[in-house]
Symmetry: C2
Subunit: 390 residues, 2 copies
């Protein structure tokens, strides 16, 4: 493949375990970054970094504002420009996009992107408050609409228009938990059955407890360099082949359709337009499954299934490891965990492993091209990246 | 001057009045953006925008997370990629830098940058909590160090090392209030005397009430285009001639010196290096005077006064309108107001007016080159932009 200076390449990636962690945010950033540096085959000196981007919602108030400096400290580079980006659950995806563009523009030669969230140290009432801040405040949050409630509206509408069966939603969760058994960093290591998902206590009908991603702590770090310098660091870089981003009305009541997220469609269309490859060339996809319905919406919005076709695709096993298009082999937000600001970076961490054939027992055989899809809140923004093995 | 596609030019700017506003955030963004569009001499179609960046701290919880979509809505461009950037009080400065780079990279032809904060709808105890989140949480905020307290430490140290007299701090406030009398958008329209500043109730010694900027609501919007397209929009564009950014340890206890902000020095050095002109060529400067001591630190950190020399420069009137280097002709954070996320964009709004000779009674005669300096929190990050008239 062509390797120009105007492309970006991943040469290292790391992440903490996801779950309820004892470490604080400073330690979590250091752990993820330390792993990322250690993963660079021929070594990486943080002194080479030109700039960094931190994706975090700032959940729980530990360092709600001005957290970007902590990333420079973790990299032992106080002084380096760092920008904190907050686009709700898509914070790290947008931070990665900023990092990629800093390389693609020719401005930077090496960039650090990290994602971070510390959620489990808040009492549960406060957690509900914090999760709500990613939806519309004036028309949704203050009216009592929860985040699960928004996705329940989307799931109901999808069922009305496409006849989506509850079993398809349940199968998303079953697959996620099965994949997470193969991921040592995942929050859940417990297989579940369709019957358990369908019988779980309702959170916001038709979504039950096992349709929802958990509350998680976690951090992830990614090292990007100019593509034409990548082989100084490793023989197996992962190239960023395309990217796209989009937005939508914040309040779902303003949107013309509830059976998909327009922001995801816009992001995917732009990403495929700017990359050199077709949807059919994908070896795997990391999609934003904050609730089970979200994975079905993603498959359709990204053009990986026809409208209304994601349920059948899921039920026939096409999205399982070993299927036609494995989706979320790491367990996804549902079972790997969803530390909000870290999620987008963790998805790309998984892509990095998979495209280097380093994903261990959950490896997708022969993976060469992958997609990562990160959604902010209930779809007010979304970002998609496409990758190919070096 | 050379006008290449790789430079960015301001062709429009707008802002709300600063102070306690009745409008909510959506209306504030619409007002600022409407003014920015109306300021473009030959008209501007928001349909031409490729992307937008929003700087906001998310103070008070009105829309704490995921607020970027609101900017797309205000521009009647739901769908456009928008990134929220939060670097504390430097949020809009860093958002502007991201917008400039989106143009300079060749990726975008037209970009919207906005800054926003709604602060006065919070009760005062909550305000103290929110302001503290821009300092270090683990070592400062939870130990009870307030924001005024941090700057009081810097002021004390500056006095010890440089003999900075209280009258110099007071003169910063006197000048700010005098300039604000000439700015219809300013929060304060009231002249004050040195004696009043020195006699005001102490907030954190040596800083008194009149050494501190106020709590403010406000929004500002800036329209950037490729420099080689700027004259389609106006005969008097304002070009971005250079920019720089830097960071520092978040907690002041980690920093080797307290008599300046290293992040500001790093940002300024980079900005002057990347621009075509010298410090002596500046017609005016907009600097980050959240407390009176901050303006003195800025003058020294930016290389506009020698170390310890800002007090004398201020006392001799060099920084007044009509002086050798007018500083904060709009009244600065101190008297124009400091709606946190809006401040960096408002500084650039002032530069836009001044370099187009449109600043009315506060116009700096013959202004051709200007600097804008925006600091995050107590100096954990800073960003500097340099501008020249077209």
């Amino acid at each position: 493949m062509a390797v120009s200076s105007a492309r970006a390449a991943l040469v290292g990636a790391g992440q903490t375990k996801f779950g309820a962690l004892k470490d604080g945010p400073r330690e979590m950033l250091s752990t993820a970054l330390g792993q990322a540096v250690a993963s660079v085959d021929r070594g990486f000196d943080p002194g080479a970094l030109d700039e960094a981007f931190l994706g975090t919602l700032g959940f729980s108030g530990w360092q709600l504002g001005n957290s970007s400096a902590l990333l420079a400290e973790a990299a032992h580079r106080p002084g380096m420009p760092v920008t904190r980006i907050e686009n709700a659950c898509a914070s790290a995806g947008f931070a990665f996009r900023a990092g990629v563009e800093a390389i693609e523009s020719g401005r930077c030669e090496a960039v650090l992107v990290a994602g971070l969230e510390k959620m489990t140290d808040s009492p549960s009432a406060r957690r509900r408050y914090w999760l709500g801040v990613s939806g519309d405040t004036e028309w949704e949050r203050l009216a009592g609409l929860t985040f699960a409630g928004v996705y329940a509206l989307l799931a109901s509408r999808h069922r009305i228009e496409h006849g989506t069966p509850p079993e398809a939603l349940a199968e998303v969760a079953v697959k996620a938990h099965r994949n997470a058994l193969l991921n040592p960093n995942a929050q859940f290591h417990k297989a579940i059955s369709r019957e358990q998902v369908l019988a779980a206590p309702r959170v916001a009908d038709p979504l039950g407890l096992l349709d929802c991603c958990p509350i998680s702590d976690g951090a992830a770090a990614l090292l990007l360099v100019r593509a034409d310098r990548a082989r100084r660091y490793t023989d197996t870089p992962v190239y960023v082949a395309g990217h796209g981003a989009g937005s939508d009305f914040l309040a779902v009541q303003e949107r013309p359709s509830l059976t998909g997220l327009a922001a995801s469609r816009r992001a995917a269309d732009q990403a495929f337009r700017t990359s050199g490859f077709d949807r059919s060339a994908l070896s795997l996809a990391e999609v934003h499954d904050c609730f089970t319905i979200a994975e079905l919406l993603a498959l359709e919005d990204l053009g990986l299934a026809p409208p209304g076709g994601a349920a059948a695709m899921t039920l026939e096993g096409a999205t399982a490891i070993g299927g036609r298009l494995p989706v979320n082999p790491d367990g996804g937000l549902k079972a790997k965990g969803h530390p909000i600001g870290a999620t987008g970076a963790s998805q790309i961490y998984e892509v990095f492993l998979q495209l280097r054939a380093a994903a261990g027992r959950r490896q997708v055989p022969g993976a060469t091209r992958a997609l990562a899809h990160n959604v902010g809140g209930s779809g007010a923004c979304a970002v998609v990246h496409l990758f190919e093995a070096g």
